[in-house]
């Protein structure tokens, strides 16, 4: 770690920061992050897809390409179900973005592709027995397998009840499907419907609020809407003060400034 920066005065850090902003705004390459003049032909995966909203700090300019916006695990159909379902869990409203525009489905996709999806650091050794509910998850399936099964079953349930796939349902109908899973009204032999819903819900909050480096919380808008300033090196100046709004900073901001 570069210790020298910590010794800089707040003013000096502010100067560094605005210099950084200048570099970002003018589109100069900076740590491989901003590609000069790159245009936002971002998510061409389907015509209906909305491009990622431009960073408000760069109003009037096209957002740089976000190469993080591709799929590592889901197929398109699975991705669309996750995008619709998480949007119902954490919907856009007149003031604030929802799960879809925050990139939550990309976040979940990327997580399932890695260690978390493989339950890499969980105890997955046999024997497997059905336990008491106080004993927690005792299944042999990994998270990625649970998602595959859960998404398929959501679609099956939608077809049975409404004769349409999940993504074609109205918002209210999608809520009904989600509620049927949440309450375990849907009985599945392989996985717990309620357990799957819990993963979907916790994945939604993780995707909305984790550092943007993981693919969600686009442009830190998840943090911005709740007054969370993200990665800040010090709150000494405001800790004993009344509520203070602070423009969020990300881990990327931290990396490029050190």
């Amino acid at each position: 770690m570069d210790r020298s920066d910590k010794k800089k005065s707040p003013e000096q850090r502010a100067v560094d920061r605005s210099r950084r902003k200048f570099l970002v705004n003018t589109g100069y390459a900076l740590g491989g992050i901003v590609v000069g003049g790159a245009l936002g032909t971002l998510i061409g995966r389907k015509p209906a897809a909305k491009p990622a909203p431009a960073n408000p700090r760069e109003a009037g300019q096209a957002a740089p390409a976000n190469y993080n916006r591709a799929l590592m695990f889901f197929n398109q159909e699975q991705f669309r179900i996750v995008e619709s379902a998480t949007e119902r869990i954490f919907p856009e409203d007149e003031n604030n973005p929802g799960a879809k525009s925050l990139g939550v489905a990309f976040f979940i996709d990327h997580q399932l592709a890695g260690e978390w999806g493989f339950n890499g650091r969980d105890y997955m050794s046999p024997p497997f027995y059905t336990g008491e509910k106080e004993q927690g998850y005792q299944g042999r399936l990994k998270r990625r397998e649970i998602f595959e099964i859960g998404l398929r079953e959501m679609d099956n349930f939608s077809m049975t009840r409404y004769e349409k796939s999940f993504v074609e349902l109205t918002g209210e109908q999608q809520d009904e499907v989600l509620k049927a899973f949440e309450s375990d009204e849907v009985k599945l032999t392989t996985i717990s419907a309620g357990g799957f819903f819990k993963m979907l819900r916790s994945g939604t909050l993780e995707g909305a609020y984790s550092d943007p480096l993981y693919g969600g919380n686009l442009d830190m808008n998840g943090w911005r809407m709740r007054g969370y300033p993200g990665n800040q090196m010090s709150f000494t100046a405001i800790i004993d003060k009344e509520f203070t709004e602070i423009e969020p900073a990300s881990l990327q901001d931290h990396l490029v400034s050190h």
Binding site: P91, R121, Y129, E134, E182, Y214, G227, Q232, E242, T244
Partner: protein, 571 residues
């Protein structure tokens, strides 16, 4: 055939707070010490990207890899114990510094009552106050006897604080002044004052100002960044073994740390340890490290497990109540809490420090009359401001939908408008709460996992209800528009994070019949083995345990030096 290394004076199993303190004290006195640590090396520079809630708090970056080793759990002996497959109730640390890296830094001393709980309870309320199955014991050491060691720990770590009006006597003030007081903490302190309670600033290992300790270790003041518990400190402002005692031991030239070294057996013969057997986890090689003295300082579970796997000491038998290794497992009862929602005021909830808060002990220990109550003890009541990170902190008033537009609107609205008051409820020991080896499940080396048999008791249900009501009274007095608080504790479950304050299993006492170690943490059954940590608590107090673990480690170090000199049982 395992390779055998040259003998050392002392081998330490697990280099966290207890191991680090003992290494530092012994190497300063000239002993040669080998520290075996199953995890990797850790240093302050590792935390450059530490403000990452997902990686550290949700994906458990600093915790033990459960795919290699976990524990099994059952509520009682009639149920088949099953493995804790994912993290929940508690988080087991890993790597150099151990759980001392990812702690919050709340550094309370236990109350004088805690050390003499059985005799003081009987003295005041009569024998009938303690249910037959409750196996609480005096520690064999009093607060006053342990006080100098508390003082040593606090001076080394630079604890910031002010005197607790209801605490035990102190020989010295805290080495640094208390941390800053936030508006929410101010409101709590004022409300408590109006209710005639006795608030004080939480004793904190997050430094309130720059500090140099007697070993010459200098550390910087806390920046209130809001990332302590589950995280390492990028400033070294939070006292942890890596930035305090381990460098002191290293500097002597007498300390050799071997990381990636997982100790699997204590070798012993005729009531004396001869050394330890460990696996180099990077090569799989088995290695014997002979030593004159073996010091076991891993986390509670592995302290107990290592003794049982090594067949050292007398295993506890819950049917007869005989034996000691695995006896008196206890925990922390933390659900007795209240949350307040404030419509007209917002707080800097995102900022904070692990040990930033105001506490009171009016409902802890025997500081209040229990004659009409169906429980003993209690817990510290605190309003803490530890940094409300956004994935894990989404408080909404009871009755709010768990998802959808209502949840979203309200969770955003209350993100900086909710405060909570919590308690660290004491956890009593019972005949049927214990640790033993699981008969079925194994770790990655084929060794049996630790099995926990534990549930909440009537005592816990009554106590947490009582504490939640007190929290709610204070929150109302603070002016909250709505207050929610715990109404019913429910059974113990392994999925929800509660507290990493597991205790017992190698309990301390004055008699070999009813304890595993004496008050120097020396094993009655093998006088050259010292087992140090919260494993020696006979039951758990109404506070965070680290300060007491630190004090016991300083006392154990003193005992080891005496033993090296004269040999034999020290008590």
């Amino acid at each position: 055939m395992a390779k055998t290394l040259p003998k050392t004076d002392v081998v330490i199993v697990g280099v966290g707070w207890a191991g680090g303190i003992i290494a530092s004290e012994l190497t300063k006195s000239g002993l040669n010490v080998v520290g075996l640590e199953r995890g990797k090396e850790r240093k302050t520079e590792d935390y450059f990207m530490v403000h990452d809630e997902l990686r550290y708090a949700l994906r458990y970056e600093l915790m033990q890899d459960l795919s290699k080793e976990t524990i099994t759990f059952r509520s009682n002996e009639k149920i088949r114990a099953l493995p804790m497959r994912q993290y929940g109730s508690f988080l087991i640390g890993d790597g150099l510094g151990g759980a001392g890296v990812h702690w919050n830094g709340q550094t309370y001393r236990f109350l004088p009552y805690d050390f003499e709980i059985r005799s003081k309870t009987v003295e005041k309320y009569g024998k009938g106050k303690i249910p037959a199955e409750m196996t609480i014991q005096d520690w064999g050491i009093t607060y006053d006897e342990l006080e100098p060691y508390y003082d040593k720990f606090e001076t080394m770590a630079g604890i910031s604080g002010e005197e607790n009006p209801l605490g035990g006597k102190r020989s010295n003030p805290y080495p640094t002044p208390p941390m800053k007081k936030t508006p929410a903490m101010q409101m709590f302190a004022e409300a408590a004052g109006r209710l005639k309670l006795n608030p004080y600033m939480v004793p904190s290992a997050n430094l309130s100002e720059n500090y140099t300790n007697p070993d010459g270790i200098s550390r910087a003041a806390c920046q209130y960044c809001g990332y302590c518990e589950r995280f390492g400190c990028e400033y070294g402002a939070k006292a942890d073994p890596v930035v305090t005692v381990i460098p002191v031991a290293n500097k002597t030239g007498n300390f050799q740390i071997r990381t990636h070294s997982n100790v699997r057996r204590i070798m012993h013969k005729g009531g004396k340890a001869t050394g330890v057997l460990y696996t180099d986890v990077t090569t799989g090689e088995e290695i014997v490290q002979p030593a004159d003295i073996v010091v076991v300082t891993s986390y509670v579970f592995n302290n107990v497990r290592l003794l049982l796997l090594s067949e050292l000491g007398r295993p506890y038998d819950p049917a007869t109540g005989r034996g000691v290794i695995g006896r008196n497992y206890a925990y922390q009862v933390i659900k007795g809490s209240a949350i307040g929602f404030f419509e007209k005021q917002q707080f800097n909830n995102f900022a904070g420090a692990g040990a930033l808060g105001v506490s009171l002990d009016d409902y802890n220990g025997d500081n209040f009359d229990h004659s009409e109550l169906n429980f003993i003890h209690g817990g510290v009541v605190s309003l803490g401001q530890t940094g409300a990170r956004p994935i894990q902190n989404n408080p909404v008033p009871s009755g709010t939908a768990a998802w959808g537009p209502e949840f979203k609107t309200k969770s955003l609205h209350y993100a900086n408008r909710a405060l909570s008051i919590g308690t660290q409820g004491a956890s009593m020991a019972y005949k049927h709460h214990f640790l033993d080896l699981d008969p079925v499940y194994k770790d990655v080396y084929g060794d049996s996992l630790m099995r926990i048999t534990f549930d909440f008791e009537q005592q816990d249900r009554e106590m947490s209800k009582f504490l939640a009501e007190r929290c709610s009274e204070i929150m109302k007095e603070m002016g909250a528009d709505k207050v929610d608080y715990l109404k019913e504790l429910g059974p113990y479950e392994i999925m929800t994070y509660q507290s990493t304050h597991n205790t017992g299993g190698v309990m301390m006492g004055s008699e070999p019949d009813a304890s595993a170690v004496n008050t120097y943490s020396q094993m009655w059954d093998a006088d050259n083995v010292f087992v140090v940590g919260a494993s020696s608590f006979p039951q758990n107090a109404g506070y965070n345990p680290t300060s007491t673990v630190g004090a016991l480690a300083y006392r154990a170090a003193e005992g080891i030096l005496k033993y090296k000199d004269k040999g034999g049982l020290l008590v």
